[in-house]
């Protein structure tokens, strides 16, 4: 047989090649543009089309913003200033309405000399959620977080400080009942006791005690009625209360829906489906009109509080479903692992199941919260003055009749800041947990 190898298969390199740069088309900006903008004919067309759309939007928006008028006392004055400076007919935003009325948009009809109170409440709120959101902060700060609802209530509504304090003491009574009964009786008795004791305390003791203490030591800020609340303050109060309260309620509902106990299971399912199946606006009208019928005659039950309750119930149904998704995603082995070690139901939920299920549910939970926060604007329909309600009021005034874009841009921006922060925090948390346990 002849040798079929035309060339010798043996090869020895005698000179090593130096490292060289990639060709011009394959590096830096040129490469990036080619790969990301003009990688094919269709993509080039899309790129050019998108650039044109962006140009078109900016070209229309820019003059409006650039020629904007910031200081005027009415829309007509705005127009006069515009005509005098850039000429008649030129698009020009009249942000003077914001500089003129921003306090009202933020605080509603809250007394002018007490604007520091909502601001301090916001500061207290930020200080309270910081240790909850960022685990790296000292854990002792959580004590302030626990006290903060009462501090914020005292700041916002004012009145005697003894009311919120006795309210807080009620929770202490509940805890004491739980611990004391836990020593002498079973778990069920202590749980029941921890619910009944504070309710009895609030019904029969809290009022007289707070009254007596107020008579002895009348400490507190001037009382502000709920009616005066409005603007972004109101949105934040409703939104934050709803978010904070619906989280634990939603988790309990999700656990209830997973429960083997027939009654608890069915009650949870019915609650979730009914609340979720009816529009929020219907629940808000319910809060405004019907809830009053169920209360004993003579009780005045704050409309803001009713709205908070409805918003909380509404979003807790959504949270429950999101958390249920997280629970269902956990492998059965996690439940069995916890069971096999002898952990009881609440221990295994708290230590094993919920931390993992909630981690899975973070995007859905934050999504629900963002939705809830924006839905607070629906309260305008039951006569509360949220930013939208106020914008209507401002536009109804003779000074600002006919203006709307500028107000909505401002309101939208405020909401965007809050919602975007929530979204970013959700991403931060997801990445952090991703890093910690894979």
């Amino acid at each position: 047989m002849s040798d079929t190898n035309a060339q010798s298969v043996s090869f020895v390199r005698d000179k090593m090649l130096p490292e060289s740069a990639p060709p011009t088309l394959e590096r830096g900006v040129v490469k990036w543009i080619r790969e990301n903008l003009f990688s094919s004919i269709l993509n080039s067309v899309l790129t050019l089309g998108s650039i044109y759309v962006i140009y078109w939007i900016v070209a229309h928006l820019y003059p409006w913003l650039a020629n904007s008028v910031w200081y005027a006392s009415s829309l007509n004055e705005c127009r006069e200033i515009r005509d005098a400076t850039v000429g008649p007919g030129v698009p020009s935003a009249c942000f003077a309405v914001i500089t003129d009325r921003w306090e009202q948009l933020l605080f509603g009809f809250y007394p002018n000399d007490a604007y520091w109170r909502p601001v301090m409440a916001l500061v207290a709120f930020l200080a309270a959620i910081a240790p909850v959101l960022f685990v790296s902060l000292p854990r002792k700060l959580l004590w302030f977080s626990a006290a903060s609802p009462f501090v914020m209530f005292s700041l916002l509504w004012g009145g005697s400080i003894w009311g919120p304090i006795t309210l807080a003491v009620g929770f202490g009574v509940g805890y004491a009942a739980f611990v004391l009964l836990g020593r002498v009786a079973g778990a069920l008795v202590s749980v029941l006791g921890s619910i009944i004791a504070p309710v009895l305390f609030w019904m029969f003791l809290a009022g007289p005690i707070a009254g007596a203490l107020t008579a002895v030591a009348p400490i507190g800020l001037p009382f502000v009625e709920s009616r005066s609340f409005g603007g972004f303050t109101l949105s934040v109060i409703i939104g934050v209360s709803g978010i904070v309260l619906s989280m634990p309620l939603g988790i309990l509902l999700a656990l209830g829906r997973q429960s083997d106990l027939f009654i608890i299971n069915k009650v949870s399912v019915a609650f979730i489906e009914v609340i979720r199946g009816v529009p929020l606006i219907v629940w808000l009208f319910t809060a405004q009109l019907i809830l009053g019928y169920f209360l004993p005659p003579g009780t005045t039950f704050d409309l803001t509080l009713r709205v908070i309750i409805m918003v909380t119930l509404f979003s807790s149904a959504y949270i429950a479903e999101v958390v249920r998704g997280g629970l269902a995603a956990l492998p059965k082995g996690q439940y069995e692992g916890a069971d096999s070690l002898g952990l009881d139901y609440w221990q295994s939920m708290r230590l094993i199941i919920l931390p993992q299920a909630l981690k899975i549910s973070i995007p859905g939970i934050v999504n629900t919260f963002i939705g809830l926060f924006k839905d607070t604007t629906l309260v305008v329909f039951i006569g509360l003055f949220d930013p939208i309600g106020l914008s209507n009021a401002i536009r109804a005034s003779t000074d600002w009749n006919g203006i709307y874009w500028e107000l909505f841009v401002f309101i939208g921006l405020l909401f965007f800041i809050f919602c975007y922060s929530m979204g970013r925090y959700s991403l931060f948390l997801e990445r952090k947990l991703q890093r910690e346990n894979r």
């Binding site: 069971d339 096999s340 070690l341 002898g342």
Partner: protein, 263 residues
């Protein structure tokens, strides 16, 4: 699987079977819906016994040991563990579960906790052990399973064999009197099987009462004092390992052994 090399002598000085009853199962029956998965199981386990349960898949062996710590509920008959009867009384169930350790095929470690936290969780919350003491115990058992250096990692960062050894250490931290193994090596690569079996052999050498569902016949021959063969939800044959492997009585056992030892 039979050719598992047990490459060391087994120290049998502590492998003593006492006449104290650890588990007593009487006429136990279980159904999944209408499917009769366990039929008339009678089994007495004495303290210090090392029992290997084998059988074809679907024969009910996993279900049997899962009944012992009530991961599955039996519908007829009685199970007594350490003198406590398994009934629907939650207190008894939690008590038995804290006395009986269990290792699973898929380890079931808690991925959101470090190895150390996995091991200290149950002692701290169930036994109310102080944290420092629980951590010392955990480190002791992690050293025993030869992975103390992984204590601060998360389960996801460990190999399968290491995870299973952590799972064993996690059970041991509760100082159980009985250990159940539910196919502990079935999800592992061959070289990891050996490290897990070594750990189990060490446990047997210390006199732990063990019930193992496994297909590792080498392990059965080396440390078991009794092999139970199950088929169709029933105990078909049980004997000491030598007799069981060399002189099986039932045809069903012979067939099974020829299939798993044949290659």
């Amino acid at each position: 699987m039979s050719e598992l090399a047990i490459d060391r002598d087994i120290d049998r000085s502590h492998m003593t079977v006492s006449d104290e009853v650890a588990i007593q199962i009487d006429q136990m029956n279980k159904w999944f819906g209408t499917f009769h998965v366990l039929r008339d199981i009678n089994l007495t386990v004495y303290r210090g016994e090392r029992i290997v349960i084998c059988g074809p898949s679907g024969s009910g062996k996993s279900t049997l040991i899962r009944c012992i710590n009530r991961l599955e509920e039996h519908q007829a008959g009685t199970i007594m563990v350490d003198g406590t009867e398994l009934s629907s009384d939650l207190k008894n169930i939690d008590k038995i579960r804290s006395e009986v350790g269990m290792c699973f095929q898929h380890f079931n470690l808690f991925p959101h906790l470090t190895i150390l936290e996995n091991c200290t969780l149950a002692p701290i919350w169930v036994r109310k052990t102080p944290k420092k003491e629980a951590e010392e115990t955990a480190m002791h058992f992690l050293e025993k399973v030869k992975i103390p250096e992984q204590a601060n990692k998360y389960p996801g960062q460990l190999s399968g064999g290491q995870q299973q050894r952590v799972a064993i250490a996690r059970s041991l931290c509760m100082k159980p009197r009985i250990m159940l193994f539910d196919e502990p090596t079935s999800a592992l690569d061959p070289e990891m099987i050996k490290e897990v079996l070594d750990t189990m052999i060490e446990l047997a050498e210390e006199g732990m009462t063990m019930l193992c569902v496994t297909h590792e016949m080498g392990f059965a021959q080396a440390v078991a004092n009794r092999v139970i063969f199950m088929d169709q939800g029933q105990i078909v044959e049980q004997n000491e390992p030598k007799e069981f492997f060399n002189n099986p009585q039932s045809d069903r056992t012979k067939l099974f052994l020829s299939q798993i030892l044949g290659h």
